[in-house]
Symmetry: C2
Subunit: 234 residues, 2 copies
Amino acid sequence: MLELSAGLESAHSLPIPFADEPYNHLKTFGEIMSSQSLRRLDAGQHLFHQGDSDRNIYKIESGLVRLYRVLSDGRRQIISLRFAGDILGFESAAMRDCSAEAVTSVRLRSLDQTSAYRRLRDEPALAPELVSLLSQELENARGQIAVLNRRSAIEKLSAFILELHRRQGESDSVEIPLSRSDIADFLGLTIETVSRNLTKLRTRRIIQLPQIHRLLILDLDGLEALAAGECENW
Amino acid sequence: MLELSAGLESAHSLPIPFADEPYNHLKTFGEIMSSQSLRRLDAGQHLFHQGDSDRNIYKIESGLVRLYRVLSDGRRQIISLRFAGDILGFESAAMRDCSAEAVTSVRLRSLDQTSAYRRLRDEPALAPELVSLLSQELENARGQIAVLNRRSAIEKLSAFILELHRRQGESDSVEIPLSRSDIADFLGLTIETVSRNLTKLRTRRIIQLPQIHRLLILDLDGLEALAAGECENW
DNA sequence: CGAACCATTGACCATGATCAATGATTGTGG
DNA sequence: CCACAATCATTGATCATGGTCAATGGTTCG
């Protein structure tokens, strides 16, 4: 089994049964993941690095994780942001194709793929959920491709804010747990362009920026129009 | 798919979760697909459309398929190109998140997902291959994200040519089964920029263009240097 | 042969990158 | 607790890349 931090949470986690035992009490992967012991990472710590042979599946209980690649010229491309509730790392490959790093402090659970496959063998009905998890990541990546290409900075940024808004329960007050540099590397822009366009949104009364990592949406419709590229005269 | 995949080729190998079990007698997913009946599509015909509830898995025996989305402003983004030998459409979702269209005439086989899952229930050992197939599409999409962002037109185009080169068995003569418009929509450029940069490659003696859909690589090293962004003075 | 479509080339322009300076925020040691 | 350094964010000036508009050339197919 894994060497996970033996916090008080692990006292509540289920013992790992023998492979031949039935798992009737655990019907979904989500439940199986939730029964694993909790681990804690500080901001900046890595779950795994690009090229690692790490074979774990992770479920984020709280916090934010970025998946990124470093290009040959040294620039960083953030491939995906993973929020609380997301599962990541299910892809089967000899090596990790990107690095995973905690953006904020993160609580997560992990399960090694071998155990996952063993459970799948015993409970084939889990397969559709497994496929669904990977499909969601694929859909996520494809959406990112569509956003990155041929969209203006203001469209990218508006769409990004709306995504944060959505993932934080539609509250008008949106927390931005990322630095400007993270946003830039995610959207394929520079920090200057991110900053300039945030200012633009601010002066047009679309948003307010009470704190650097906190944002207030003043005009949701306007923001959505911008994200959809419906505003020409900007 | 394009750029970083070179160092991650081995990442596509199948995991072997139960090393103690005899694996050899088990059918692979590829074999199951190959036993399905052959279908033929002309260029321009669709396998499925974005929004369809189609639930088939496809294996391309010959030809080229493009997966694309149409953005809200009407522009097309090609998400992925699928070549002979590739399997596609495994993602589980209520609706297709993109359209799949034959670029050339295509021979393919299909299998509905329900049958696939039934197959998987009988042979749970197929699961790793299934996961691997989806993982490859995910890796592909992530590579595309890395290429699209913050790379110059000449880098994108060089990487694209090298990818075609690689997928066609490293021959110096590369067939380009796509129109300039397809290349543009795939790389996130305009047809004019594609054309101009092809001309640039031609005048610098990196390639020749004997026919519109045929290309000859004269200087492979130079092309690779360009794809890696190692040339400043262009 | 002409029509339709695709590709190439040119002129011009807009968006966002780069370079540079200043402000704001955070962290550290005296 | 303050002072200083370091990091991060904002703003400005300039420039280059690639998009847009437009004209021409080439290919294919009836």
